[in-house]
């Protein structure tokens, strides 16, 4: 595709490596060619590269697909997923999971972004329910804002919850912002 058609978050294939376009700066001095400065994130190792392109250049879009995977468990620095149709297992590195590990709960289904047969990124469900493992009774020093206190959920992540939440409660969390939504009342 033409470099002029690239926008943020398009996935490109450069020298055989898939990149996400994290940022794009358009400059066009005088009557010359447009210069596109791209911040590219290597989807395999997470490294950031800056690359400059000019108008008229062609780039290849990385051919990626999504497939549904179930998260099974963590082993050392790998996260192990299972394809829900073929039952094949996939290993994803900690670097690829990044901060999403905070809400990666055993058993949940995720959309796995694949480059060929290589997993490169996961998309969590927008809302996931978690059990609260630890949340001490509201004492001033532990409140993180006037309305919220800290609570540890079953993945080990700490989020802000209202003061009425107790250990053992089930809560719904928005995984995009990492914020508490509501308490789930068990029947």
């Amino acid at each position: 595709m033409d470099i002029a058609d690239i926008h943020k978050n398009v996935k490109l294939l450069v020298d055989g490596i898939p990149y996400n376009v994290d940022d794009l700066e358009f400059t066009k001095p005088g009557k010359g060619r447009a210069i596109y400065r791209l911040k590219l994130r290597n989807l395999i190792d997470g490294n950031i590269n800056d690359r400059t392109f000019h108008s008229g250049e062609k780039v290849d879009e990385a051919q990626t697909t999504y497939q549904q995977e179930q998260y099974l468990y963590r082993e050392n620095d790998h996260y192990i997923f299972m394809n829900t149709e073929t039952f094949e297992q996939l290993f994803v590195t900690e670097a690829q999971i990044g901060s999403k590990k905070d809400f990666l709960k055993e058993g949940i289904l995720v959309d796995m972004l694949m480059f060929g047969d290589r997993p490169i990124d996961i998309t969590l469900p927008n809302f996931i329910e978690f059990k609260v493992l630890e949340s001490e009774i509201s004492i001033k020093s532990q409140t993180i804002s006037p309305q919220l206190k800290a609570a540890t959920i079953e993945t080990g992540a700490v989020i802000g919850v209202p003061s009425f939440i107790k250990e053992g409660d089930l809560i719904k969390v928005d995984t995009r912002s990492g914020t508490y939504i509501e308490r789930i009342n068990k029947k």
Partner: protein
């Protein structure tokens, strides 16, 4: 009204008021100097073929990429001083300094060359700054910029020798020229003064005239302030044969690189022999407003960009 649009538009109010004032001041600046304000068509049957300016099609015609050809046709009839605030359209130009639809201030003055037009530009910016309460220093971003006259001038050859280590006049290389401009030249401009670049290589001439006795150089200037490319200035080319030759080359390049047919602007070429020696400028009004309002992106000085229209 939708809340989010309200939240976006209301904070722009002071910039939009300043913008309206800038229009008023620009008009009075040129009227005082005996320039006639004209309006030429926004939808046009032909445009100047330029390799890196892409037009929007409009039912077999184009949306104007620049008012230059039509203003020069008016000059050819014998008018000597013209200015225009016009909307221009350029496909694909979008970023924090670009919107595909933007406002250009364009003026032409008979009997002068690019040096006199540079003076006009300096005077205009200084006048606007003083109307906004700045004396000789404006603040853009976190930077104070001394705009006292005259602004520093440097030739394209000198600036490339100094910051890129090569001479684009002696060894013309258009691709390297454009990339180095962005990566090596512009980042090295002094932050606290405007920069006036003079005397471009002939391959970057477009509609500017060749410098007498200096082969390979055209009388073209670009003015930069605070990292913004503000104005493009020419001693205008009034040689119809030379103009036709350059257009032909551009048409072939566009055909070859973009696979697009652009028609030769014949009516304009017929007018060229009647254009008197003159100088002219194209100044980006949105960027001028950004500079005077200390706005870091174009969406802060117009109510709607291509993304929000």
């Amino acid at each position: 009204m939708m809340d989010d649009e309200c939240q976006r538009l209301l904070p722009l109010s002071s910039n939009l008021k300043q913008r309206a004032l800038i229009y008023k001041l620009i008009r009075s600046f040129f009227e005082k100097r005996d320039f006639l304000e004209v309006e030429t068509p926004v939808r046009v049957p032909s445009i100047a073929p330029e390799p890196y300016i892409v037009p929007f099609d409009s039912d077999g015609w184009y949306l104007s990429t620049s008012p230059e050809l039509h203003m020069k046709r008016v000059l050819a009839a014998g008018y000597r001083r013209l200015f225009q605030l016009s909307r221009c359209f350029r496909k694909g130009e979008q970023g924090h300094l670009h919107n595909p639809e933007f406002t250009m201030l364009e003026w032409y003055c008979a009997g002068v060359d690019y040096r006199q037009i540079i003076h006009h530009t300096e005077e205009l910016v200084v006048l606007l700054a003083s109307a906004f309460g700045f004396n000789t220093t404006i603040r853009y971003g976190a930077q104070d910029i001394d705009i006292s006259l005259p602004w520093p001038r440097i030739t394209v050859r000198d600036v490339y020798m100094r910051f890129a280590g090569w001479d684009p006049i002696a060894t013309p290389d258009p691709l390297r020229f454009d990339i180095d401009m962005v990566e090596k030249i512009m980042p090295n401009f002094s932050k606290d003064r405007p920069t006036i670049l003079l005397d471009y290589p002939a391959f970057a001439a477009a509609l500017a005239r060749l410098k007498p006795d200096e082969p390979g150089i055209v009388e073209r200037s670009e003015i930069f302030i605070g990292g913004l490319e503000l104005a493009n200035i020419y001693s205008e080319l009034v040689d119809a044969d030379e103009q036709k030759k350059r257009f032909q080359e551009a048409i072939e390049q566009i055909q070859c690189e973009r696979g697009k047919q652009i028609a030769m602007p014949e009516k304009f070429l017929r007018a060229v022999p009647f254009i008197t020696e003159c100088g002219g400028a194209a100044l980006g009004v949105d960027r001028l407003v950004m500079l005077l309002c200390n706005a870091d992106s174009i969406d802060k000085v117009i109510p709607f960009t291509a993304d929000t229209a």
